[in-house]
Structure formats: C-alpha cells, structure tokens
C-alpha cells in the first residue's frame, strides 16, 4: 500500500466537533479515490492529515508502510505530492521556476536545482502542454493554466502518490474536463491518487473508489459504482438527486431536480 491510515481522529480544538472519526483507508499503485462530502465536512482536513500538514489527535498515517511521524518533511514529499487549491503567491515567479520548486525534495538546503532538474521540468511542461507559457509570470496566467502548472509541479517530484484538493473548483467546464483527463492519465501511469470534489459525476468518471465523509466524521469507502447511489447522495447533500444512465456517454449521470 502506498497510502494507509489507521483510526485517524482529528478535531481543531480540544473537545470541539470531531472532524475525522476512526478513518481507515488504503490506496495502492494506480488506484484513484474520490472523496465526496458536504461543505465543511472535513475533506480538506483529511487530505491535510494525510499530507502531514495537520497532526491527527490519534491514529497513524503510513506512506509506503512507513509511519509518517518518523519521517522528515523531505521523505514525505518524495513519496507524496500535494496539489492545493488555486492561490496566487505574493511574488511573480515564472511558470518554469514555479514548477521547478517541485524538485525541492531532491535539493539540499545549501544547494540549487541542477541541469538534471531543469531537464525534468522541461519534459513535464512539454507533457502537460505548458511549454509556451514557461517564461510567463505564474501570477498572470489563467486559473486553468495555473492548475496545470501546479499539477506539473507535483509531477516533477516524481512521487508515488498525488493528492488533489478540489482540483476542479473555480474552473470552467473545459478546464474541469482537462484536469480530470490529466488525473486519469496519472492514474494509468501508476500514481496513487486522492481527490476531493463536490461533483459526484467526477467520481463516476474517474471510477476507482469513492469515499463519502459525513458530518459526524465517518468515512464510507467502496467501489465508486456501488457507493454512489441515489439514497446515499440524498443523505449527503440533503436534496433530491437522480442517477440516470445516459447511453450517449455510457455512464451514470447525477442530475439535480428542477427548482
């Protein structure tokens, strides 16, 4: 298993609402997991715990079988890359230099990236289709392009797993699909992938497993086609939702009711 959690518990304040309750999940090579859940349920919190950005109250996160509490930040980062939600940094680094930062786990504290690192960045930019933008300031490209640059930054670390925090948020339809296609191709390359999303359709399209995090902090995990059922979606989102099979796209689609 690449990512494994054991009885993860988390709350932001002592005695406050328990965000995560006894969370067990595991993910191997080439597997994808979509985490669904209502606003504020704690999907990002769960990702942050796995990425060791937050310390769980109890429980263990293991990466490649190793307890993360005994791992240095660099060891964690060389197994696991994190694609956070879009944000604009304070300084306008070029797309190339921004992506280059993903090589950090391979660079020593008093070192700089070398030719080898530059070559990996060039290749990844080519792969993701950003070569033309590489000298543009990261702050001046569109949201979709920024998302792709962040994915490229995650890839250049050559990790085993990539976490995506709402990768489709704030993107238009075209860019949402582009991002999902990239995620699918990463899965096929063997990365273990976890994404959080508000859209059940995205979980259906990605296949793999789906996990639903409810307000009590419990996680229900299973195969996407089994977990995503009308009754369960109704409970999660508190509204009528219909799952209809569409022959044109050959998959189930999640449709909200009329207003």
């Amino acid at each position: 298993m690449i990512i494994e959690t054991e009885k993860l518990n988390f709350s932001y304040t002592k005695g406050g609402r328990q965000i995560l309750k006894d969370i067990n999940l595991s993910l191997g090579e080439g597997e994808v997991m979509s985490i669904l859940g209502p606003n504020g349920a704690g999907k990002s919190t769960l990702l942050n715990c796995i990425a060791t950005l937050l310390m769980p109250d109890s429980g263990i996160v293991r990466l490649c079988g190793k307890d993360t509490r005994e791992m240095k930040p660099k060891e964690v980062a060389s197994i696991l890359s994190y694609v956070p939600q879009n944000h604009v940094p304070a300084f306008s680094y070029t797309v190339f230099n921004f992506v280059l930062m993903g090589r950090a786990p391979k660079v020593g504290m008093f070192e700089r990236p070398k030719d080898e690192d530059f070559a990996i960045v060039e290749k990844t930019l080519e792969e993701i289709g950003l070569t033309e933008l590489k000298d543009k300031p990261y702050t001046e490209i569109s949201g979709g392009e920024r998302q792709q640059a962040t994915i490229a930054r995650a890839m250049v670390a050559q990790p085993k797993a990539i976490l995506f925090d709402e990768p489709t948020a704030h993107l238009d339809y075209g860019n949402q699909l582009k991002t999902l296609r990239i995620i699918k191709s990463l899965k096929e390359k063997g990365y273990a992938i976890i994404i959080t999303t508000h859209n059940p359709d995205h979980a259906i399209m990605l296949g793999g497993t789906t996990a639903i995090l409810d307000r009590e902090g419990r996680l229900t995990v299973g195969k996407s086609e089994e977990i995503i059922a009308e009754e369960r979606l109704r409970q999660v989102y508190g509204t009528e939702l219909s799952l209809i099979h569409m022959d044109e796209v050959d998959r189930d689609v999640c449709v909200p009711p009329n207003l």
Partner: protein
C-alpha cells in the same frame, strides 16, 4: 534550458554592470568633500596604501583618503548591502513584499540598546554590543508572540512586529525624555537618524564577521527562500523543513540588520525600497535577487551618504535623505506594481 541559461547570463551581466557603477561611485565619493582630491590622486593613494607601495602624494591627502573617506565609504556600502539583502530575506520569509527590517522591530530594538548604552555613559564597543542585543531581543519577542498565541500564520508575525515596533518607539521616546538635553539627547537623536560621521575602521572590523558570515549563509540557501515565500503549508508539502529554514534565515537577516545599525544607527527605507526595485529588474528569484539587491543597496547608500556630507556645511543625518528619496520612489514603485499587489 537554453532560455534558462541565457537568463542567468543576463542576470550576471546586470550584476557586473552594477559592480562597475559601484566602482565609479567609489572613485567619485573619494574625490568629493571639502578637501579637494583628483580621481587620479585618490586611486594612487588607494593602491599605494593597499599594496604598501607608497607613492608621490602628500601626507594630508593620504590621511583624508585612508583615514576619513575610505572608512565612510566602506561603512556606507556595507550597510546598504546588509539592509537591502536582509530586506529581501524578510520579504521572502514572510511572503510579504511590503515588509522590511524596520517592520520587525529590529532597527528600533537595536536603537534602544544603543540609547541605553549612551544613558549609562558607555561608548565604543559597549554601544555596538548593546545595539546588537537590543535588535536580537526585539526580533525574538516579535517571533515569540505568535508562538505563544499558538498561531503560525505570517500575518500574526507581521502584527506582532507592529506591536513590538510600537512599544519600542515608545520606550525610545521615554529614553529621550529622561536623557540629559545638553549632552545625551543629541547623541541619541543622532543615532536614531543614522549617520556615518564617526565611523572608524576598527568599528567596521568589529562587525565585519557578523555581516559577511550570515550573508554567505543566506545566499547559500537562497533557493529555499523562494520555497518559503510560497507560504507555510505549501513550503512544507514541497518538503521544506520550514522551522529550520525560517529560523536560520531570520537569524541571518537579523544579524545583518543589527550589525549595520551598530555602525550607522537606524537608516530607514533601504530594506523596503531596494528589494522592490531589484525585483523589478531581475525578477523574484532570491538567487538572483539577493546579489542584485545588495549591490543596489550599496550604491544607493554610498550615493546618499556622499550627498549628505557634501551638500551643506553642517552634515545632515542620512535617514533624512533616504526618507526624502525613498518615500516618493516607493510610491512610484507601488503605482507601477499596483496590479500585482492586491
């Protein structure tokens, strides 16, 4: 890759150009002042004394160049370099282009240390030592407040700097209030406005190590400052040992600022304006930014000091001019960058 190395080439070329400008400014500064010296004479003395060759210049010329002007020029360049570089470092550490060494209370703290030394009738090495302790103490409190409040956010640190800076200037006001107006007050005021009038070579020697060593460390880890400037959680998820990198960087930048306060008093604006200007010229990468900003800071402060000591009979404190030039210049920079600073 071609474009990348080409860019490095431009950045190095730009730094060489700045170095040439700095050399020109040094010669100009050697010749400016009440005692007239020609550029050729000044260079004769400089090389003659540096390499112990001697030469055909008068004793008076030698004393003016080696005893008065060279220490001042060295001190002003060093302080400019230190303030600009530590400004770059602080701005990256706190991912905030609007911050400067003054903001974190370092300059004020060092100033209080110096003022206390003056009140106690101490001078010389004690003055520098007290200034140094004050600066370190101030930044420690600034860094400590967010830790006590269990908040690791950078905004909290900035606010904490405002708190410490505010408290420090009140304490300084109180020290001025109780100081003897005949003797101590003038000395303290002079220190708070910054000046190179009384700089000696031995003073420079006493702080040169605490200037150069942190500078080398900071430059060595400059790529990691880029990562730090992405924000705490991003830097951590990229594999940075934030606590270590941040503490080392803060310690280095603070040593550099405090060392410069030790020999010149507080000089405002350089740590804020020069990093901005350098960033507009070579971009935000700290690896390029730190040397470029350092050179620009050195040139700027040397020019300002040369102007203040030649413009009138009575010498003006440097901070008056850095403020007069820095403030409007900063307004122009902000206007040009208004789109990128939200």
């Amino acid at each position: 890759m071609a474009t990348n190395s080409k860019k490095n080439f431009y950045a190095v070329g730009f730094d060489l150009l700045l170095l040439a400008i700095l050399a020109g400014c040094i010669v100009m500064a050697l010749c400016s002042g009440k005692y007239p010296i020609t550029p050729k004479e000044s260079l004769d003395v400089l090389f003659g004394e540096l390499f112990h060759k001697g030469g055909s210049y008068s004793e008076m010329t030698k004393n003016v160049v080696m005893g008065l002007r060279i220490p001042r020029i060295t001190a002003s360049i060093l302080c400019g370099v230190m303030l600009a570089m530590s400004g770059v470092a602080y701005q990256s550490i706190f991912k905030n282009p609007l911050i400067s060494p003054d903001f974190l209370g370092v300059s004020n703290g060092a100033c209080i240390g110096a003022a206390i030394a003056i009140l106690m009738g101490l001078g010389g090495i004690y003055l520098s030592g007290f200034a140094f302790l004050g600066g370190i103490l101030a930044v420690s409190i600034t860094v400590l407040i967010p830790t006590i409040l269990k908040s690791e956010s950078n905004i909290m640190l900035v606010l904490s700097g405002v708190i410490v800076g505010g408290a420090m200037s009140s304490i300084l006001g109180f020290i001025k209030y109780v100081a003897d107006p005949e003797t101590e007050l003038a000395a303290i005021t002079y220190w708070t406005m910054g000046s190179f009038s009384y700089v000696t070579m031995s003073e420079i020697k006493s702080v040169i190590l605490t200037m150069v060593i942190p500078m080398i460390i900071l430059f060595g880890m400059s790529w990691w400052l880029d990562i730090l400037s992405m924000g705490e959680s991003e830097a951590k998820s990229l594999g940075a040992n934030i606590k270590l990198i941040r503490n080392v960087a803060i310690a280095c930048a603070t040593l550099m600022t405090a060392s410069s306060v030790c020999i010149s008093g507080t000089i405002g604006w350089i740590g804020l304006v020069i990093p901005h200007f350098a960033r507009m010229c070579v971009g935000p990468n700290n690896t390029k930014l730190i040397p470029t900003a350092g050179l620009m800071g050195g040139i700027f402060l040397l020019l300002v000091d040369t102007i203040t000591r030649t413009i009138s009979m009575a010498e003006m404190p440097v901070s008056i001019l850095t403020g007069l030039i820095g403030a409007p210049f900063y307004a122009v920079l902000l206007y040009r960058q208004r789109k990128t600073i939200s």
